[in-house]
């Protein structure tokens, strides 16, 4: 699926597509808002939820990797290295 096709779907269908074929990358939390980043085929999708994933505030698509950085910064490398050392 290309980004344009995805952006034309209803929010419900977009969530369905992400559930079926999206690869979860990471999550950001800000007060009661949660934003999750998925990769779907050749693009990325950010979903912002409010109130512990009860309501979708917005869904945005990107075809660049610029958004990845803030999600990757959430990963604690030290902890992962400790797991590898085990």
């Amino acid at each position: 699926m290309i980004m344009l096709e995805f952006s034309l779907l209803t929010a419900e269908k977009q969530i369905e597509e992400l559930y079926k074929g999206g690869v979860y990358i990471g999550k950001l939390e800000n007060n009661k808002e949660i934003t999750m980043l998925y990769q779907l085929d050749s693009f990325y999708v950010e979903i912002t939820f409010s109130n512990y994933r009860k309501f979708i505030s917005k869904i945005k698509c990107y075809d660049t990797m610029d958004k990845l950085l803030c999600y990757i910064e959430q990963v604690t490398i030290d902890e992962d290295l400790r797991c590898v050392e085990k």
Binding site: I15, Y19, E29, R53, K54
Partner: protein, 143 residues
């Protein structure tokens, strides 16, 4: 007094724990959901169970957790005489085939986490279907 069936759930994500609490809420008269922030805490709980305590009817594990991740926890569970037959589900954001294969290898279920509350749907039924027939009947009889 009805004895509750115990479901254990380990996940470091507070958001997902809230999601699962809502999933089991309709069954709260008959199911007690006990949550842990990582596999290490879950294993400690299991190791501290007395002989007369009932074993959990189901164990749900996130994969990516600190200290002891879901896969390591599953191995520990299967290596213990007391819990080797307890139904276990890997409940995860992962869609990696190797994670599914791992679950299969250790006789565990594999369920992808729903993105939002609307996708919860019948997920409680899916979880309960992993329990033994006797437990399934007992839980569903109450509803």
């Amino acid at each position: 007094m009805t004895l509750k069936h115990t479901v254990l759930y380990a996940d470091d994500d507070v958001d997902d724990i809230e999601l699962l609490k809502d999933v089991f809420l309709p069954y709260s008269n008959n199911v007690e959901l006990v949550t842990f922030a990582n596999g290490f805490q879950l294993i400690s709980y299991l190791q501290n169970l007395k002989t007369e305590d009932a074993s959990p009817c189901l164990i749900i594990l996130d994969i990516n957790m600190p200290l002891l991740d879901g896969k390591e926890t599953l191995i520990e569970i299967r290596n213990s005489y007391r819990t080797k037959e307890v139904p276990v589900i890997l409940f995860t954001t992962s869609s990696q085939p190797r994670d599914k294969e791992f679950a299969f290898k250790y006789n565990a279920g594999f369920i992808t986490k729903p993105l939002n509350y609307q996708q919860l749907g019948h997920i409680a039924d899916i979880f309960i279907d992993y329990c033994s027939d006797e437990v399934k009947k007992s839980i569903r009889k109450v509803i």
